[in-house]
Symmetry: C2
Subunit: 246 residues, 2 copies
Amino acid sequence: MKIIPCSACPLRALPLFHPHSGTELALIESLKKNQIAVEAEHSVIREGQTAAPLYTLLSGWAFRFKTLSDGRRQILNFLLPGDFIGVQQKMGDASAHGVDALSDVTLCVFRRDALWELHRATPELGFNVTWLTAHEESVVDDTLLSVGRRSAEERIATLLIVLFKRVAALLPDGGAARGVPFPLTQQHIADGLGLSLVHTNKTLRKLARRGLHRIEGGYLKLLDVTALARLADLYGDGRPATRPLI
Amino acid sequence: MKIIPCSACPLRALPLFHPHSGTELALIESLKKNQIAVEAEHSVIREGQTAAPLYTLLSGWAFRFKTLSDGRRQILNFLLPGDFIGVQQKMGDASAHGVDALSDVTLCVFRRDALWELHRATPELGFNVTWLTAHEESVVDDTLLSVGRRSAEERIATLLIVLFKRVAALLPDGGAARGVPFPLTQQHIADGLGLSLVHTNKTLRKLARRGLHRIEGGYLKLLDVTALARLADLYGDGRPATRPLI
DNA sequence: CGACGTGTTGATCTCTCTCAATTAGAGTGG
DNA sequence: CCACTCTAATTGAGAGAGATCAACACGTCG
């Protein structure tokens, strides 16, 4: 695999990300240690792992999760290209959650002290990191609202809309044509929403039969956004459009 | 109400918080704009409010929450003295969650650009803020695991232990004597765990009748931590003991 | 003393889980 | 090209944790 220099990072081209000065890019690049590939289904960070490095997801999907000792698993959030991995664990601390690759992924690996260096050298980027972290928390907040207070139908409608939008923002055509790539299995959806696999399947089918969405060949297409949004109790739209990169 | 200078902040004395240099304290104090009191049950930040300032909880309890349009409420996490309020909303953005006072509280009010100033002037403190934010996220992660995958009994046991420890860390005697102050109503517990009020009450009673805990006169005492921890599926102990202030 | 908020408890009701089986598709080896 | 295997998706049936509905107890407060 070729290591991509940050200056040529494909993510930079996306309107979703902030532009950066040459100095900033140089700094980021100097902190980048490596670039690795992880196959689908494999672990990126194990629960309880110590001294995990800091990653950035360059391509593919991943997810953060926690498990109980008897195996029950809760997916905390899904990770898309551009997302950070590993800010949570204070350096030298055990990771409180695991991270698994959902599809084949490539990751940028940063020095463990990259976070601190970033803050020290460019407060601007440090501030962005704070904001990004706060933003990820708000994603988890949304899921918690779903899992705690929405019915199965509502949870699934919400997830479909939110994920669709996140993925669409990374695509040139915004998923207008075929919909957006959607590598989740129903087990992932179930674990992300605190539902059983069977009930997830039945609910998903019900919504599909009603013509609200279609998942096929690894693609998700929303067929009736209005109905989905009504179920999800999403007001107008409500999701940020821009965020800082790294 | 007297405005307390940061140099005399009572929180600084607690072993839980990091020591700070005089320069850092001076900076923090220069960013502090005011100090306000909010009565129990009153709102600190409304859902959707724009341009909310940055607060720090000086005394009392509060909580972050989100609601659906039909009134269903999910409490995202409980806030104790020393916690930040309002880092999430990007300046000038609408707050994605509300914050209510649970008991009478006093808050330090900071300039809206305090976060940025902190990063700019002292990367060290900026870094702390990033870490604190990540830490708060991990608290929400834990709750999401509970709400998504634990039974009612397990959720309540988990909440009691986690809250007890957080509060105890702020007390001189660690709650050894009477237990710890516990101003939550059962409705708060229910909304924090994604349960109905009635079921929360029944489960709470069941645990109390089994002699696992006692809630009385606004105090919580854990009577059988082992049993509670077994229910909660908490490994050894697992919670940080130190964190940076501001 | 009546109103109200919080806590309790009993009686249903139902959404979601668990258990079981079947189908469909991809990959493998002979 | 076909049996064999594995995983993901489906569907039906029965069971159960937790929700909803209804009352009542108790303390505080105006």
